[in-house]
């Protein structure tokens, strides 16, 4: 009998290009029936030589390259890189700059987690929630576009502070969006706690116990969903988090459901932090002048990106370019335990288990608001809706008569 089962095992190759993957990755899954017996993961398809590129450019150029490590958590990467630079240079960043970095960082966490919630919903066939969350994410992206001129890669950070100040009107709009989002997020939190289909689909799969988290060095929401408080904002407060305490969110489900609950609750915490930062932001300068050259030295910096602990290393040999740059993105840390998370579960669960670590993929960057040239290319929600109604009308359908709640 065992011989028969052994002979009938099937190897399924998922990726590197596959409809259930939003980025290229290769998963060789050995199946015993429908059960995943073994998973061999091959990544690296997106390797672009960013670290080598930084070595042959000056520090300012390197910062713009670092911002493009990730389309979603670009601000976290530049914050981490700037911190490393500032530590070697001995720069004292103004308090107002810390607050602006903090506000943008938490807005980034909001849009990253909303994006994830949408992707996860799509992977389990809950496309209504996918559309709701991505619609809500637009509110945050519009704010980020107003702050930095771009939906992703906002270019807010610079060495010694930030490049963009926040006007009172913009800060008021940030608070308005927080109010709107809070209402929706409470609904999603309630949904996650009560919707039986969602719970049944996510609970008990992709398990990573606390001892596994330690063994595989998982970070961020993956670790926190196993009850381990792994949050750099708490364990090593930096920037504004030295003044404003973060309420750490953990859960003890140790599975995909736990990771969902952690992220939904973290969005509510992000809103609380943004409100405090907007209320308490001090007046003053937003940057200090950085040196062109760094003294000889090295720094190991870290921040809490939406996906977890982001580590940047800079080594300076005293010149205008870094001698060595190394980025350990949080997704890189969470891949180590992926085989363990997949093994023993059903093939149908593979896409959502992979998605549950929120693997990083590049968002399509489109410049929608060009600051300074007077051309406004912003397409708002009402315009998008009007365009879609026109398209349907051209096909003989009139959706304009349907009453839709306005947000």
């Amino acid at each position: 009998m065992s011989d028969y089962r052994e002979k009938n095992k099937v190897v399924v190759q998922i990726g590197p290009q596959h409809p259930s993957l939003k980025e290229p990755g290769s998963f060789k899954i050995t199946l015993d029936g429908e059960k995943v017996e073994r998973a061999v993961i091959e990544i690296g398809y997106n390797h672009r030589g960013i670290e080598k590129a930084c070595e042959s450019r000056n520090y300012i150029q390197a910062l713009y390259i670092i911002e493009r490590v990730c389309g979603i958590c670009s601000h976290a990467h530049t914050s981490c890189f700037c911190q490393a630079f500032e530590e070697i240079a001995g720069l004292e960043v103004p308090r107002r700059a810390h607050y602006i970095r903090g506000i943008v960082g938490e807005l980034e966490r909001l849009h990253s987690h909303l994006l994830w919630l949408g992707v996860a919903s799509h992977e389990i066939g809950f496309d209504t929630l996918f559309m709701y969350t991505w619609r809500d994410r637009e509110l945050v992206l519009d704010l980020l576009a107003r702050i930095g001129g771009n939906r992703v890669n906002y270019g807010v950070n610079t060495y010694g502070g930030v490049r963009r100040d926040l006007e009172p009107e913009l800060m008021q709009d940030i608070l308005t969006v927080c109010d709107l989002l809070e209402e929706k997020l409470k609904y999603y939190a309630d949904l996650a706690l009560t919707e039986t289909t969602l719970i049944a689909r996510l609970r008990g799969i992709g398990t990573l116990l606390p001892e596994d988290v330690r063994k595989y060095s998982a970070v961020g929401p993956v670790a926190r969903a196993a009850g381990i408080m792994d949050d750099v904002r708490i364990t090593e407060p930096y920037g504004v988090f030295r003044e404003i305490a973060v309420n750490g969110i953990t859960d003890d489900h140790c599975d995909v459901y736990g990771r969902t609950l952690v992220r939904v609750k973290e969005m509510l915490e992000a809103i609380r932090l943004i409100r405090i930062m907007v209320k308490e932001i001090p007046d003053g300068p937003i940057s200090v002048r950085p040196p062109r050259k760094l003294p000889v030295g090295e720094s190991l910096s870290r921040v809490e990106a939406p996906r977890g602990e982001d580590i940047h290393y800079i080594r300076s040999n005293g010149g205008e370019s870094p001698d060595r740059v190394r980025v350990r993105a949080p997704s890189e840390a969470n891949w180590h335990g992926m085989s363990h998370m997949l093994e023993g579960f059903q093939l149908a669960d593979v896409p959502i288990i992979i998605a549950a670590i929120d693997p990083c993929y590049s968002c399509t960057d489109r410049a929608i608001h060009l600051i300074g040239d007077g051309i406004n290319q912003l397409t708002d929600w009402a315009q998008i809706r009007a365009l879609s109604i026109e398209q349907y009308k051209a096909r003989g359908i009139d959706p304009g008569s349907i009453k839709i709640r306005e947000f």
Partner: protein, 164 residues
């Protein structure tokens, strides 16, 4: 075990490492030879409670390749232990048994710096593609991206006569 206790313990048992800290939650050590390094890493894992393998940073040290292993404990102290191997014959032992999370980074050392890692289980290479030319290690300082042909995936530095 906090930063100060870690430095005290390391400097007591391995004084040659000269463990220092330039800020809270960071401990840096000097480069060690592979044998001494492995002994220190085991001590840090089994005795000091540094059981989380965070990261390996490869560095080009001229005639040598440097490998900085970043490990961490429950207090979230980042301990940087370093070993140095000759660039002419870089060889280290895999530490994957102690730190499974470091195996991916060891594969990176193989691809980007040309370090031979014995004891590393079979598996896909990382992060370079299968068609990458043998013997080309892009993170070494002498490797110049200007000589890399992306179309043919070949590295073609000018010959000595051309350079003259």
């Amino acid at each position: 075990m906090n930063t100060e206790e870690t430095i005290l313990a390391l400097n007591k048992h391995f004084p040659a490492l000269e463990a220092v800290s330039n800020r809270p939650l960071r401990v840096f050590t000097a480069f060690a030879e592979p044998k001494a390094f492995e002994e220190t890493l085991r001590y840090a894992n089994l005795t000091l409670g540094y059981h989380k393998g965070k990261h390996i940073i490869g560095t080009d040290e001229g005639e040598n390749i440097g490998l900085s292993y970043i490990i961490s404990n429950d207090e979230d102290v980042l301990l940087v232990l370093r070993e140095r191997v000759p660039k002419s014959a870089p060889h280290v032992h895999s530490m994957g048994e102690l730190y499974p999370s470091l195996m991916l980074h060891e594969r990176e050392m193989v691809d980007l710096f040309g370090v031979q890692v014995s004891g590393l289980p079979e598996g896909p290479r990382y992060p370079l593609p299968d068609c990458w030319p043998d013997g080309e290690y892009p993170m070494r300082k002498e490797w110049n991206p200007a000589y890399f042909n992306k179309q043919t995936v070949t590295y073609e530095p000018p010959k000595q006569e051309d350079a003259k």
